[in-house]
Symmetry: C2
Subunit: 414 residues, 2 copies
């Protein structure tokens, strides 16, 4: 039950207007009134304060039909920044993004390996300071730090427990980092963050319900509906690597059988490539994503055996994309994460064909499929977007609701 | 972008309080203040008006710890009613429910068969009048009519196009019914409505994210998250019968292959039973659900072949339940619809075992599995709940958000 009476109208209007400006790119005050349902007086007052705070700038005029020219507004992307961290098995990626979600600095370091929590927090604190310096931005303009990591995530106390990192069980990472860095720190599943990053960077304007299929070391996903990440009961959503697509399939590390990840994930692709002699055992083995990239390079260079291997994986990934669309009624699927960064061109046509020809509600709306413009850093960019959104679009102002409900209600209300 | 500034505080507080009273069963004013975040003065004023309107009644006192006894409040279930209609291939079910979602009258008629839209609207108008009369309720207390039907649903103009009813393509059923009956009319997918019915009737108190797996003639589903039906981009959600669980499986009527419905749905169970001589061809064939019920009765009477057939179907249904839990992070699954009404006791243990032993985030939270208390009329009860909810909990007051987000934000805000 939301505390409906506890949100001040001003704070609410401010976040509604900020998000409308962000989503539009450029927009006039008149269009803001039309798009938000707020009064002209409220829009004027709030926009004036946003300009005073440096968050919004005026960027010239647009011709209006018949009336006087309208002054256009847009976010000042340099007004605020956020740090995004992707803590993965094989590597840790740090980015600084501006208010528009564009990367202004990035670094990649080795994965956390066998290091314990205290050492990792110290290392991350140093790296975060360094990437902020490298970006050349004023620390006062950095809103906070977002951390994305493989699930399942325990949100209760900011703790997490990736199944492959048992030593980290119940360690309150977000709190420890926040104390150490002195900046607000948020944590979430990497694929959920990745989906928000695609939304925030406006990679798919007009999507009401956007799914991200994330492929790095493993396979995951996230959905953003009505501009907010869908989180379900506990934040462990859209685990596309661990849906069963073969009831008699092989056992997965998660305890299930016939999972998409065990049948078609990068680790399986790499193991099969090695079995078939496609990878030189001596020159590889540093990380699953590195070896997967090597298979992808072979395929793109014309190696038919490597291509066949990826196309077989793509059949399963396509079914996973189809399944999330059928269950969550998404209107777009973005393929993101480093493994799609290298092999997306092989997967894209297979996923597209699956959704074009087999999606249940295809008579109602198509499901678009694209590759992320920032697939390699998707989880880190998304983790930064979590911070930007938590500052700009507080949860009380957002309603995660059906595109179709207004129409259904119009039938009742007219 | 919701028109955040356009909701009056009073209307919002009223719906928040009404829903809190409904969800609690009985609750005191002090608990309402604590649970909603509204002020004591607002709660007092709004509760007084709800009592004056007859929607809420005082029902005696509860002991408080140390203070004076508190007057308890509850909805008056007889204050308002709604009509729910399930328009299915084999039959049309009509119910009248009270404000608490309990059935006060019901009728079942033959399916619409080859009748055209105009004839069906006339027939439904008569039946709805008759079921309201049978309930013995004042028509002024009937809030409206909800209609649930098989998907895909086109919400745009209140039209629908079940793929098996091509003649109905683009017919504006909700509008036509509303004109003919003179009551507000809502329409939605039957399984989505069914999920809302489970939530409304408080069959699973405490669930934040509730999935309904619906099995009637086919297999579908719906999810209610934070008290609101999840609707995605177009209202065609949780189509569990049409997710692929066998990439090389048989073709389904929907254009996909290896769908749960074609592998394990009632029509397939019935066809297999007939092939194996379990059903007497002469005595059956009236409807898929009727024939499925005959197979279920054989199994429950100890016929091993019939039982094996249902248990094989249950393996696939269990994977479908697992998949919706893995993607939408549900904390409970309700098995509902007439086919679970007759065979739920065979399916329940199979679905439970699947989620207990194989659900990805089982270390985070369990996923409960139960059979609906009104499985036979689930879609009609849910269609009535749609009407009750549209009156009592308007969309602006509801935030469909993650259980986990408050904690994640607390980490930032402290």
């Amino acid at each position: 039950m939301p505390a409906a009476g506890s949100v001040s109208t001003h704070a609410n209007s401010r976040s509604v207007i900020l998000d409308a400006v962000r989503a539009a790119g450029t927009i006039s005050r008149v269009e803001l009134v039309r798009g938000t349902g707020l009064t002209g007086a409220t829009v004027s007052t709030v926009v004036r304060r946003l300009i005073d705070d440096g968050l919004v700038t005026e960027v010239g005029t647009a011709e209006s039909t018949g009336g006087k020219p309208r002054t256009m507004l847009r976010l000042d992307p340099t007004a605020r920044y956020a740090v995004g961290v992707h803590l993965d098995h094989g590597s840790v990626t740090y980015v600084v993004t501006d208010l528009g979600g564009d990367i202004v600095a990035r670094t990649r370091r080795a994965g956390i390996g066998s290091a314990g929590p205290v050492e990792v927090v110290a290392r991350m604190t140093g790296e975060i300071g360094a990437v902020i310096s490298a970006a050349g931005v004023d620390r006062d303009r950095v809103l906070g730090v977002g951390v994305g990591m493989p699930g399942p995530v325990f949100q209760g106390a900011g703790a997490f427990t990736p199944p492959t990192l048992a030593a980290w069980s119940d360690f309150p990472l977000a709190q420890a980092l926040e104390r150490s860095i002195g900046l607000p720190t948020l944590m979430d599943n990497d694929a959920t963050a990745g989906a928000l990053g695609e939304h925030w960077a406006r990679a798919v304007p007009g999507s009401v319900c956007l799914a991200a299929v994330y492929m790095g070391t493993g396979i995951g996903g996230g959905v953003v509906v009505g501009g907010m990440p869908y989180r379900g009961a506990s934040g462990n959503t859209v685990e596309l690597g661990h849906i069963c697509v073969d009831l008699d399939g092989p056992e997965c590390w998660c305890g299930n059988r016939g999972c998409v990840e065990i049948l078609a994930g990068p680790a399986t692709v790499v193991a099969t490539a090695r079995e078939r002699g496609l990878l030189d055992a001596g020159a590889t083995g540093a990380s699953v994503t590195g070896d997967f990239a090597a298979v992808a390079r072979l395929a793109l260079q014309g190696d038919d055996a490597a291509l066949a291997l990826l196309e077989d994986s793509a059949r399963y990934v396509a079914v996973a994309a189809h399944t999330v669309a059928t269950i969550m009624d998404t209107d777009h699927v973005v393929l993101t994460g480093p493994s799609f960064g290298v092999a997306g061109s092989v997967y894209l046509p297979v996923v597209r064909r699956e959704l074009e020809t087999r999606y249940f509600a295809r008579g109602n709306h198509p499901v678009g499929v694209t590759i992320s413009p920032h697939a390699y850093e998707a989880a880190a960019v998304g983790a930064a977007a979590m911070v930007l959104q938590s500052e700009l679009v507080p949860r009380q102002s957002s309603v995660v609701l059906p595109a179709s409900l207004p129409d259904a209600r119009a039938t009742v209300r007219r």
